[in-house]
Symmetry: C2
Subunit: 257 residues, 2 copies
């Protein structure tokens, strides 16, 4: 079988195994160069960008489907993944757009297929360490890369809205989510942690007060190493004490101001 036939065969085979009318979509967040970024896929032979998403198998928990889909479509594993909203409007996708994209890959599926029928999507967001990740596109996509959250193209279906809701939800949950642990590398400096929270909050924070408060939470371990290379005083490296971090987030959460 050539590649096209293989892909078509694969899709047809999937149809019998999945739950109709249901999908999952994942908003993968990363943090790089002081910007919040999202991982997007570009459909083969098109300029159409979309969130990594997929179908749920008949006997598979929806949460598990989100993990599997993410691995199949981007190669990412073991992520911090949270369900945040379910998108259930009947006009959230337009089958003609979808058919056009498949046509670009010479995949032909009857217009009556359940694939083109109304679909409800359960939205998840993931927090990943940007550097740890080498995303790889799957067989439906040409490219898989990070996009600045402030500068997204027009996305497939209602994916722009899904991203927007994910960002809003993440902001709301900021005090209770382990964003530092999951978006930063194992070792990081205090200014790096501060940039992260500043970016997510959308407002600058006082350097000294921020440091005092974070240290007061007592979930950071200062290492003996420092980050060298800059034209300035080398900052200390820190690491999370995961237990204490979780405990603080659980009880009351963080505060900013």
């Amino acid at each position: 079988m050539d590649q096209v036939t293989s892909a078509q065969h694969w899709m047809a085979q999937q149809m019998g195994l999945i739950i109709p009318h249901l999908s999952v979509d994942c908003v993968v967040f990363g943090f790089h160069e002081n910007q919040l970024r999202v991982l997007l896929l570009r459909f083969k032979n098109t300029e159409v960008w979309a969130l990594p998403g997929g179908r749920v198998y008949r006997e598979e928990p929806v949460n598990t489907a989100a993990v599997r889909v993410l691995e199949q479509r981007t190669g990412l594993r073991g992520l911090y993944l949270q369900q945040f909203h379910t998108f259930g409007d009947p006009d959230r996708l337009h089958s003609s757009d979808f058919q056009a994209i498949l046509a670009q890959q010479n995949i032909r599926i009857e217009a009556s297929s359940l694939l083109f029928d109304r679909t409800i999507s359960v939205g998840y967001y993931a927090l990943v360490e940007f550097a740890q990740v080498s995303p790889a596109p799957d067989q439906l996509s040409d490219e898989c890369r990070w996009w600045d959250i402030r500068d997204l193209p027009k996305l497939f279906f209602d994916h722009n809205e899904i991203v927007a809701v994910a960002v809003r939800t993440l902001r709301q949950r900021l005090s209770y989510e382990p964003v530092g642990l999951n978006l930063l590398p194992e070792k990081f400096t205090m200014p790096e942690l501060q940039r992260l929270y500043e970016t997510l909050l959308g407002q600058p924070l006082d350097r000294r007060n921020f440091q005092k408060r974070m240290l007061a939470y007592d979930f950071l371990q200062r290492l003996d190493e420092r980050r060298t290379g800059g034209a300035f005083k080398a900052p200390y490296l820190y690491r999370f004490d995961r237990e204490r971090y979780a405990a603080v987030l659980q009880g009351g959460g963080l505060a900013f101001g």
Copy 2:
């Protein structure tokens, strides 16, 4: 047609109109006698209690389905309704339990029916003024009544967990949700508002500080009326300034302590 045949016919007819594998379930919260309560239905000829839930029509937004199902099954309209979580484990319902309940009503449906297949449920919670409501059971139920949140029976399927997640979510969102506006009557006293928040938070609050803070938010209008009837000084009645209330919840939310 007798009642049984009518009900069976009705269900059969529904099957062609609905999206398979998908349902909505509603956790209706009320506040009465200083307790948070949930509205439950008892299936006909059984002692099985369940949340009001139902199916989604082919062309119907899921949000709309939640509103409709709630009206059909309890008679309630125009509620404050929020989606909070989607429950997608394959073993969250057991078709044998469901068949047994339908059998009690002499409704017989083939075991192969999609009704008994795996179902993903989108959870919503509603906030309602207890006194405004006269819930009425539908044709599948014998009874519809309020239950104290702390003293629920074993519910249908995973509905106990759904309620638990709803309560947890409501607590988390407490500072940003218009719980006062929707759970209390149009006019209410300061102590009543305080009892509400105390119950939801699970901790007592200082009477004087609470009053000061609420008035400082400037979203309460004190009326010239007082609540008489108690063996004590008659408290003032208040009403929400809806715009200001919404504005405060939007920006920063409420604080307690």
